[in-house]
Symmetry: C2
């Protein structure tokens, strides 16, 4: 008897007795017939049993057992794989079903579930259809269960069982896998920088403070200092995937108080555009990897949250900040020369770039020095601008990055210009006294990349267990 | 003119003009001759220039420039690759040297360095030799510089530049790479669990507390709760590499207040020994990967910190706790039946196992229930013991792991036996009300694995920037 892991391949086992572990997604007993819809990962399968005559004691026993099964109970089902006479419309596996021989309960679920996976799996369109149906039947539309975001997040362990969520977190895992795969191939070394640090990593506000054996410490808002320390320590090319903490009172769709940072930092040989070239190829590797390896998962997300496939070009689309400003103005948007883009302008520029270049992925280069931190390398040809960039997916920023100043004297000058004293910088400043090669990098929010690739409305959907100003549990 | 990245391959470029970026490791000008030892990663290379006649103005200018070079300055050196008449004993590259044409300073270092990479790179044996030499010459042995641990850690950005440290962190990166590579191949999904949590993850003590927008929160002491939540959420097999926080007042060689956890958790199909089999194969993949891909790095560590190669067997060596107790007693050690092993017993058992089985890597299975947490699955055949294990490298524990209880009723009983009320467990307990497949896993300390593979004396050496009760910086 073989154990089946992949329900979608079950047609290969027709006629065989198999063992399948899964959850009770639906269950129904009607007279002498019993039906279970078994759910496993993103798939569902029908299983049934019929008591044919009064002596059929085993089947009767199983039917009795089915009556006691609660939804979401983990069971092991033993039975024979049969072709179905008609496609099973209500299951993802349509061509075969199981004739149940035996059911074993591994872990029972309470009958009082806070939400049903079936309800949580519906698309907006399906919900509308059900509401229409209810209205036609003269029922109140409130009879159609709509699972709210708080219910989902409060009971995340059930919410995560929907096919779309199963898919989202496999895709998230894929992004990390392709990110590292590419960088390791390019000679990068992975680092693990400390998250508890002595001072605030970027300015003093928006940090979580904690007591460290009687000293004040805080949680790192970015691995910036340590990525640069790695370069200063001759590690040449480094990356880190790790948590990033921001005590921001932001309640937007794209802010989290704890998110996963995909960070890299690299030596520059001749020109900081080497970083942008690497960045582009890195993301091409990620996008192509997702489209190839996770096609089934993309489809599962699309079924509940329909989205336009993410488009990108083989060659990088790099637009200078002044060009971007010009494009916005020509399209009727207001944008100052040396101000950062507001959310509206960001989205508008994304649309304009997509129209002109046919890509959801582009780079805005040469940001005004006025809107970048002091450690950003000024553009040697025009110090009003800088060797820095933001990178966008579907018109929303996923990265700020830059060439950093690697010469201590210049760093002191640039800090003072922004009103920062070198003394206040501590180790960050001191490191540059020991020599440091030219370098730059970027930090990318994993949850944003997944959200924007899938065109989902909120980062909380792509965070495993999200943290917001009002959510610390579960 | 080609840019050279790998100094050990420079012999291929004899006769060519090349550009090499690196650091001034040593520099000397004597009359009309100038010498630089250039350091790049783990390698050093000699470069020289001679002013041959009074008109040789370019060479003179370079000689003048060499006089002003400080150690650790980042330079780019342009010159011709020549074979050396005799091997250069003081450099790692012995067969070729560079005839300098041009030197460009990219980032100057201060002349007041807190330590020299050359001093920090010596093995104990070399230091002894130098002390002997000093004594013979009638000098004070204090003229031989010995770089202390605090000096190293205070100036980690320089300390990390030694060949051994360059190697250690490439090896650390390799451990993570092989860990993930193997698990992804086995169908695992990577997760990123929150590090800021509402309650203490394991008991109430030894946690770092912080203020979370007015609520009390703490830093996760392990991703345990969330790994299990992932299994409960049907993710089947998951892993995480991330920071783990322990506010322990431990000042031992193997404790850190922040370390990198290599965690995995998986569904069990029939028996929890599936976890041990996977674990063994996973670590075989890591050990073999290190020995193959990082041979050069292992040699570099061995040069400064000589070690016996790590030995392991193709088949897992699994010893039950009672067997281990018996082995210890037979060898004259005291060990109670239901008490955990003390450090001395751990090391002794490691020696005994190595003698008997010829491995530095083994598993101690079936720990007494008395010394394991309440959520550990009791051994169904003998409830005095449990389905849990520790795993050792060179006689030191790198992992505690177990099958976890997946049925809420049993969990409540076992918690109460240990004086823990189910109510106090919050979400951890509630999750099991929604059904959960049988599962187990392990959490491994990355810094310990690297320390023990290389037989280094302290975890602080394998932590990028370590955190101990007395160290929060840099």
């Amino acid at each position: 008897m073989s154990r089946v892991e992949e329900l979608s391949l079950l047609a290969e086992n027709v006629g065989e007795t198999v063992l399948i572990r899964g959850r009770v997604h639906r269950v129904r007993v009607k007279g002498k017939a019993g039906f279970i819809v078994l759910r496993k990962g993103m798939e569902t399968l029908q299983a049934c049993i019929f008591a044919k005559d009064p002596d059929d004691s085993i089947s009767k026993e199983v039917l009795q057992q089915l009556k006691g099964l609660t939804l979401e109970t983990v069971i092991e089902l033993i039975g024979v794989v049969n072709k179905t006479p008609r496609p099973v419309l209500t299951c993802s596996v349509k061509d075969v079903e199981i004739a149940i021989r035996e059911v074993k309960v591994l872990s029972p679920a309470t009958p009082q579930l806070p939400l049903l996976v079936e309800d949580a799996s519906r698309s907006d369109k399906e919900i509308e259809r059900l509401i229409e149906q209810a209205k036609k039947k003269g029922k109140d539309e409130a009879t159609v269960v709509v699972v709210t975001k708080p219910t989902r997040l409060d009971n995340r362990v059930i919410d995560l069982r929907t096919p779309a969520n199963q898919a989202i977190f496999r895709i998230q895992s894929g992004v990390c896998r392709f990110f590292r795969e590419y960088l390791i191939g390019e000679g990068f070394t992975e680092i693990h920088s400390p998250k508890i640090i002595g001072g605030a990593s970027e300015g003093g506000c928006d940090v979580f403070k904690l007591d460290y054996f009687g000293s004040e410490a805080c949680l790192a808002q970015s691995p910036q200092l340590y990525k640069q320390a790695a370069i200063c320590a001759d590690m040449k090319r480094v990356f880190e995937i790790g948590p990033v903490f921001r005590a921001e009172h932001s309640h937007t769709h794209r802010h989290l108080c704890e998110f996963t940072g995909l960070d890299f930092e690299m030596e520059i040989e001749e020109d900081y555009h080497e970083i942008l070239t690497l960045y582009h190829n890195l993301f091409l590797h990620i996008f192509k990897g997702l489209n190839t390896v996770f096609a089934k998962e993309l489809k599962a997300v699309d079924e509940q949250y329909p989205f336009e496939p993410f488009v990108f070009t083989e060659k990088p689309v790099i637009i200078s900040f002044p060009e971007g400003v010009k494009m916005l103005r020509e399209a009727g948007y207001e944008q100052a020369d040396e101000e950062d883009l507001a959310a509206e302008q960001e989205k508008a520029l994304g649309r304009l770039v997509k129209e002109k270049f046919g890509t959801d992925f582009y780079m805005l280069d040469k940001f005004p020095m006025a809107v970048r931190p002091f450690y950003t390398m000024p553009d040697p040809e025009n110090p009003k601008y800088s060797n820095s960039y933001d990178i966008f997916m579907r018109g929303q920023e996923i990265t700020s990055g830059a060439q950093r100043i690697h010469v201590q004297k210049l760093l002191a000058e640039c800090a003072l210009k922004k009103g920062v004293t070198p003394e206040s910088l501590g180790a960050y400043f001191d490191n540059f006294a020991y020599g440091c090669p030219p370098h730059g990098g970027a930090g990318i929010g994993l949850e944003r990349v997944v959200m924007l690739f899938l065109d989902l409305p909120n980062c909380q959907m792509t965070s495993f267990f999200c943290r917001t100003p009002t959510r610390l549990a579960p």
